[in-house]
């Protein structure tokens, strides 16, 4: 534990022997292509698939209009029942929405046939922006809802009205942030095989959970859950939340396999991925902070609108609700009012994206805090210092019900300032400004929630719904691991965590080896999800930065049980008391008398080959399977408080930028980032997560943007239009860490997979705002592309 062990995942990946979904071998599969709506919003008068059905090589065709007969709409956690099917039924609600699917002998033939699908559209006025969605004159996407506003809740904690009434200063910042996505380089992929004899539908998919969505999928297919088997291939080519949202396509590919009586495969192409997979919602958020003249924040108000696109696809509207427990971030403020609105529009439905809802909250708060500091004549570092939750306050309950497990926020902030050489940076900035250059420095602090509580989305439902008789509460965040020792004394750990490159196997080997006093090389690891063979629950999956807290925690618990079994057998063999023994160097030995020892091989041999001689109460073999239940993850209270995550890390980012006053490009001069993710299992794995998360945050704040025109036509359908940051722009980051072990997780670890994706946007936006302040310009529309900054400068 704590060592920078090299990754055991690397060798197959470096030599071309990975197993990604497109590498899964099934006999003679058909290949799927979709016909998609060219309109952002249109009635579908008819879809004629007859030409496609007789095209060369075509074995099966499925029209969206058939879905109400064959499937049930997907469920989501809101009051209104939107009819969300896997393809458009009688109205297309976003450009790129599938209207029919074709399965043919190869992908080329399938794409030829998909072009022969003839759909007759009656275009409608499109609802594109948040303002469109709030405009009652615009068409309704789902008439049964009666509005394009699908969720509208106001949550109050403490006494926000009194706090604002008595404040010395109120600052208000409104920020608009367009859509982006973490765009994994591997697109969605599904292979389906239906066995008509047993009625079993097996699907391989690069689906990352949460497995809450498997019951949603089974219900849509009208299959009892034992007749739906989902297998996640060993390797997933990145996800960052995005691959949660692939499940509607599993309905289509599954139906085609059932219809064709042959295996069916769909590998999404990049154009499809950009237009029709999943995005982070576009958002307009206003933050009001009530402050005293000393800079103390006494009240916080949020008014946010998230644009969820054409349908509310589970787990949405979670973008808006995931940050609930940590809405106040690292600050002591107790009086909070949150007005949270979700709207639908003619854009692709949204879903989880690295940071999931938190980068927006921190952008809004941290920008408002910098403006407050400016008005009060305080340094941005100083105003933060004055508001931090102190180190002796943990565990700390936030006004909205979050329970921060551990931390030392002041220490992390000071370390970040030192790492960035903040005072020196301010001198550099002063000198640059004197020369007329646009240099700015931004700080952002983020409480980093990990291990989501399955119950938090329920807050989107009003309390009267949650209190009604028959309402079924949701809670929990469990996961599972198994540790067993074979007859030769070697250990195998099995998990089902659907990793996407994080190095789970390397890390869990370190955790288990540590517990058992053996070398990590002596721990074999298996991490594969199969809904028919893995032990899982609805919270299983690799999302919300949950691995090191929960799956690795379950492994440690299981290893602890195995250790006890080993010690008891060893005690019997050595004729010693268990309490006098220790596990070290691959043997059980008497503490203080290393000569009195027995090898693990001998212990395992007895357990497997001669269980008759085992002490009473022990079973044959050595193994333990542990489900780590998370009792802190309770349903929301009647007054809307919820501990939305199980562990809360902390991030302090400091970024310095220079803005070119001609090209309006933002260049990063310095990036320092200090993290507290609790106990670190492998520092190099943590570093990799922080770097990747930071780049996603910077990309979303500076460059990456999905765009539509006013008719809902999609404008960013290639990687040449949707521009990701490359190595030429990516910064070096000066990293440091402190470790405040979580008292709530077995390893003491908290998640770090999302880390700086939540803070980098706020830090860089603060830095750009600081750079532009001498010009009297305040950027408030992200991403801060050169074009957008130029427009700001031109007025």
């Amino acid at each position: 534990m704590g060592q920078p062990l090299r990754r055991r995942e690397d060798l197959p990946l470096l030599t071309g022997r990975g197993t990604f979904v497109d590498d899964v071998q099934v006999a003679d599969p058909l290949h799927v292509a979709f016909a998609r709506s060219p309109w952002g919003h249109a009635e579908i008068r008819s879809v004629d698939v007859s030409g496609a059905a007789v095209a060369p090589g075509v074995a099966a065709v499925l029209a969206g209009s058939e879905l109400p007969e064959l499937t049930d709409p997907f469920a989501a956690g809101i009051v209104h029942r939107l009819a969300y099917y896997a393809m458009a039924v009688d109205r297309a609600r976003y450009a790129g929405e599938p209207v029919a699917a074709v399965a043919a002998d190869d992908r080329y033939l399938a794409e030829d046939a998909a072009e022969l699908v003839l759909a007759d559209y009656e275009p409608l006025d499109a609802v594109v922006t948040i303002e469109d969605a709030l405009d009652p004159a615009k068409p309704m996407l789902h008439e049964q809802v009666g509005s394009n506003v699908v969720v509208d809740r106001t949550l109050r904690y403490g006494d926000p009205d009194a706090a604002f009434a008595s404040a010395d200063l109120v600052v208000t910042e409104t920020l608009r942030w367009e859509r982006y996505s973490s765009t994994p380089i591997e697109t969605y992929g599904i292979v389906a095989d239906y066995d008509a004899g047993s009625g079993l539908l097996t699907m391989w998919a690069n689906f990352m959970g949460p497995m809450t969505l498997l019951p949603v999928l089974a219900r849509s297919l009208r299959l009892p859950e034992e007749r739906l088997r989902v297998i996640v291939p060993k390797d997933i080519g990145g996800s960052f939340g995005i691959k949660s949202s692939l499940f509607p396509y599993m309905t289509v590919v599954g139906l085609l396999a059932m219809r064709a009586g042959r295996p069916v495969k769909w590998i999404e192409d990049r154009a499809e991925h950009l237009i029709a997979s999943s995005h982070q919602p576009d958002r307009v958020g206003t933050r009001e902070l009530a402050l005293t003249n000393d800079g103390e924040i006494v009240g916080l108000r949020a008014h946010v609108v998230d644009n969820l696109g054409a349908y509310v696809r589970a787990p949405e509207p979670a973008t808006t609700y995931r940050p609930l427990g940590n809405y106040v971030g690292p600050y002591r403020v107790r009086n909070v009012e949150l007005h949270l609105v979700d709207v639908v529009s003619n854009k692709v439905p949204t879903g989880p994206n690295r940071g999931y809802g938190c980068q927006q909250v921190y952008l809004e708060t941290e920008r408002a805090l910098d403006e407050a500091a400016e008005l009060l004549g305080l340094d941005p570092a100083e105003i933060r210092r004055r508001n931090l939750i102190p180190a002796d306050a943990f565990p700390y309950e936030t006004p909205s019900g979050g329970v921060y497990d551990s931390g030392d926020y002041p220490r992390v902030l000071e370390l970040a300032l030192r790492t960035a050489r903040y005072d020196e940076l301010r001198q550099v900035q002063a000198a640059a400004r004197a020369e007329g250059r646009l240099v700015g420095i931004g700080i952002a602090l983020a409480v980093d929630p990990s291990i989501s509580n399955m119950g938090y989305v329920s807050v989107a439902l009003p309390p009267e719904v949650r209190q009604a008789p028959g309402y079924l509460h949701k809670s929990g965040a469990a996961d599972w691991a198994q540790v067993r020792m074979g007859p030769g004394g070697k250990v195998v750990v099995t998990m089902g965590t659907t990793p996407q490159g994080q190095g789970h196997q390397t890390a869990v080997a370190q955790v288990v080896a540590d517990e058992l006093g053996i070398a990590p090389e002596d721990v074999a690891t298996v991490d594969e999800f199969d809904s028919h063979t893995s032990v899982w629950s609805v919270s299983t999956g690799s999302y919300s930065s949950r691995f090191s807290g929960i799956a690795a925690g379950a492994a440690r618990r299981a290893a602890g049980v195995v250790k006890r079994q080993i010690l008891e057998i060893g005690a019997n063999l050595l004729e010693a008391a268990v309490d006098d023994l220790e596990l070290a160097d691959g043997s059980v030995r008497v503490k203080g008398s290393p000569d009195r020892a027995v090898s693990l091989r001998r212990v395992a041999g007895v357990a497997h080959w001669d269980p008759h001689s085992l002490p009473e109460g022990l079973s044959a073999g050595i193994q333990a399977s542990e489900v780590l239940h998370v009792p802190t993850s309770a349903p929301p209270t009647d007054d809307d408080r919820i501990n939305s995550s199980h562990a809360y890390g902390f991030v302090a980012d400091v970024i310095a930028v220079e803005v070119d006053p001609v090209s309006w490009e933002v260049r990063i001069l310095e990036y320092a980032s200090v993290h507290d993710a609790g106990t670190i299992i492998n520092p190099k794995l943590v570093e990799g997560q922080v770097y990747g998360a930071a780049l996603h945050g910077l990309g979303g704040a500076l460059l990456e943007e999905f765009r539509w025109d006013e008719d809902g036509q999609f404008l960013t359908g290639t990687f040449a239009d949707y521009r990701c940051l490359t190595a030429a722009e990516a910064p070096r980051i000066s990293l440091d860490h402190i470790e405040s072990p979580s008292p709530f997780t077995p390893v003491g670890a908290k998640g770090c997979g999302e880390s700086s994706s939540q803070s980098a946007p706020a830090a860089v936006a603060n830095a750009v705002a600081d750079a532009l302040r001498p010009l009297g310009l305040k950027p408030s529309h992200l991403p801060l592309t050169p074009a957008r900054l130029w427009e700001l400068a031109e007025g």
Binding site: R6, D10, L14, G237, G692, A720
Partner: protein, 156 residues
């Protein structure tokens, strides 16, 4: 259908293919060399990069028939048995990959790049890498891997 003869990783293959078949699909689905990955099919992400007569080529923007009579190298050619190529070894030592999906294309580009420029600066490595997208690493560890591989190769 068109007759095609190519040498891939030193082995000769003869096939009849459709003229529209992409080289990336030919390598993956005809030759069953699954190490070459497809990420965008429009030549930006670089995941599908192979060496065509020793020079990097986007296999998703190349037709299989354009490779007729030519030599292709894919990621499967780099290691010799259990012995990793210095680039592969450096990526392992420097944590230069996470999900590994973009890695094969980067390895092939980097092989050519270091043949042309055995002692690159970090800036030159970053400029070369700008032809590839990686969404996991933030690139720093990839840059370090390529610089470390350059040292190893020069020492050989």
């Amino acid at each position: 259908m068109i007759d095609l003869a190519v040498t891939v990783n030193g082995r000769r293959y003869e096939r009849r293919v459709e003229p529209r078949l992409l080289l990336s699909d030919f390598i993956r689905h005809e030759l069953k060399l699954y190490g070459t990955h497809v990420g965008c099919e429009h030549g930006v992400c670089g995941a599908c990069t192979v060496l065509l007569d020793g020079r990097p080529a986007r296999s998703c923007l190349t037709l299989a028939v354009q490779a007729d009579g030519r030599a292709i190298e894919t990621v499967e050619s780099l290691a010799s048995g259990a012995e990793l190529h210095p680039l592969q070894q450096a990526f392992h030592e420097q944590f230069g990959l996470q999900c590994g999906f973009c890695t094969p294309g980067i390895l092939m580009s980097a092989k050519f790049f270091l043949e042309q420029n055995p002692a690159p600066t970090e800036e030159e490595v970053r400029a070369e890498l700008a032809g590839h997208l990686c969404r996991c690493t933030g690139y720093a560890s990839i840059v370090d891997s390529i610089l470390a591989a350059a040292d190893k190769l020069r020492a050989q």
